[in-house]
Symmetry: C2
Subunit: 315 residues, 2 copies
């Protein structure tokens, strides 16, 4: 592994950058990429960000006042990409040409000439912040916005266990540098599409309890998605709803994916093992968040996962 200092030195000697982001782009991969691109351009380098699809409207400010530059690339950088499988449409062209990989996923298996993977960073934007400090370029408010975006989105606005003292101190620096923290937070955390509001309402209407209210179950059907117009991004995070309820140890979300085919998410609070529950149905994941897939009717799917959860709760 290379140090950030070595990477900063290397980046200064190179030019004509493409900065690659991962599929299903989120605030951290986009914030990392646009921050680094802005910093490199300030060093009079040519640099472009490559993303999958078009930039979502809520992220438009990241590329404000940036024009796509016209050049043949010479240097390839990946940001927040944990694995070649997450390179999507860029994989074929770029997989074997990566000069620098900067990431915060412990599982990172990208092959690159220089790699910096710091899994203690709550977001990859923290790594990018330190890198830009080493590059020595000014951090103007728009660049600060880019870094802040990855930091707040990967931590649930500084809510999760991954937050460290460093996270808070970098955010302090960015606010001092003029980032629009409150406005970004409002867009990321206090704005819901009408489809999201409507699917939430329908999800709440399906709420059931088992095992003395320790297990809460909700479901979504393809009909509900059609009726509310909810797209994938509107469905994000629905799985935390049953787990949020006071006294619930295991929150279960059952999502109809096809005919007699369901995808199940399990979220637990503290003491119970979601991965164990899902492994009973051939799935897996983390201790507090796991998933599996089930064939059968909706009621059969619910019965199977509730049964597994009851088993875990009685361990």
């Amino acid at each position: 592994m290379s140090s950030l200092n070595e990477i900063a030195g290397y980046l200064k000697t190179r030019d004509k950058y493409v900065i690659l982001t991962h599929i299903y782009p989120d605030g951290d991969t986009l914030g990392s990429a646009y921050a680094l691109c802005r910093a490199l351009r300030r060093l009079d380098k040519q640099a472009n960000v490559l993303i999958h699809g078009t930039l979502a409207g809520k992220f438009a400010y990241l590329e404000k006042d940036m024009e796509k530059q016209d050049f043949e690339y010479e240097t390839v950088v990946t940001v927040d990409i944990a694995s070649p499988s997450l390179m999507g449409e860029f994989k074929e062209e770029f997989e074997d040409k990566i000069d620098v990989c900067i990431d915060h996923h412990a599982s990172n298996d990208i092959t690159a000439s220089m790699r910096y993977v710091n899994a203690d960073a709550a977001s990859n934007c923290e790594n990018i912040y330190y890198l830009i400090r080493l590059l020595g370029t000014e951090i103007d408010p728009q660049l600060a916005d880019c870094i802040y975006t990855g930091m707040c989105t990967d931590t649930g606005c500084f809510r999760f266990t991954n937050v460290t003292p460093d996270t808070m101190r970098i955010a302090a620096d960015l606010i001092e540098l003029g980032c629009r923290n409150a406005e970004i937070n409002r867009v990321m955390f206090d704005t819901k599409s009408l489809a999201r509001i409507n699917i939430e309402r329908e999800v709440l209407n399906t709420l059931r309890f088992y095992a003395d209210n320790k297990i809460a179950v909700v479901y979504t059907t393809r009909d509900m998605e059609k009726r509310t117009g909810a797209k994938d991004e509107d469905m994000d995070g629905l799985a935390i709803i049953p787990r949020q309820i006071e006294g619930v140890s295991a929150g279960i979300t059952v999502k109809e994916k096809g005919d007699n085919y369901y995808r199940i998410s399990v979220r637990t609070n503290g003491d119970h093992n979601a991965s164990w529950i899902c492994s009973k149905l051939g799935g897996g994941g983390h201790f507090a968040a796991a998933g599996c897939s089930v064939q059968g009717s909706l009621e059969e799917a619910i019965e199977k996962i509730v049964h597994a959860a009851v088993d875990e709760l009685s361990l």
Copy 2:
């Protein structure tokens, strides 16, 4: 106004403290009080916190391992109390005996021998943090939890416009000192009572739009409260629901308070003046959050406030 340094010096010379909190106690008044009480006890002072009612279960950790001490008080401190009217049941006995007032509300009109009011602090707990640093006592994890509680609850977990670089740096220090930040965040921001979930569902079922979807209205009735068992604390923050919807400029929540009597909350996004809207019906408040009361039927109340909001949106 006194400096925090003067107040710290004074507190060291005194003993037998009562620390007063405001009515409808929130995380900031409670966090401030228990933090200061713990610090004073570490200085071998006698000190108690006085609160209205009993400590809500979610705040129980604030007083963990603290016994009520038995003494005749000699020194009275208020924390986060902006006005005598917010002293509730403590007003009669203590109003004219306040030795030290520590607050962060610009409007503070408490009479006290020594006053420190710093309206730049996002939470009063920030003031308490600096005060305890000046007192020179150790900040153990439990004391850090108390300070963190006021900081996260008064900023919506570091989401709002009141957050400053200082806010983030103090939070960084507290995490370093061992506060259970992620666990406190989960309790404060990721836990909902079943009554809350049910009233949210009923509220979403009342959603209507006006003025090209720029105005969103929801309402609650006493029947809905009875049916769901929602208490005051379960109703907190419902007013942000209509404003959160993408594209909505003014979110309006109409709450049945009595026969033909409604309390209305208006929340706006950025460009529109909630206070102006509510002033048309005899109310007022801040630019982005205001309220008023209306007599009449539910439909009349909605018609009146929507009319005022349409007027403002066309200004």
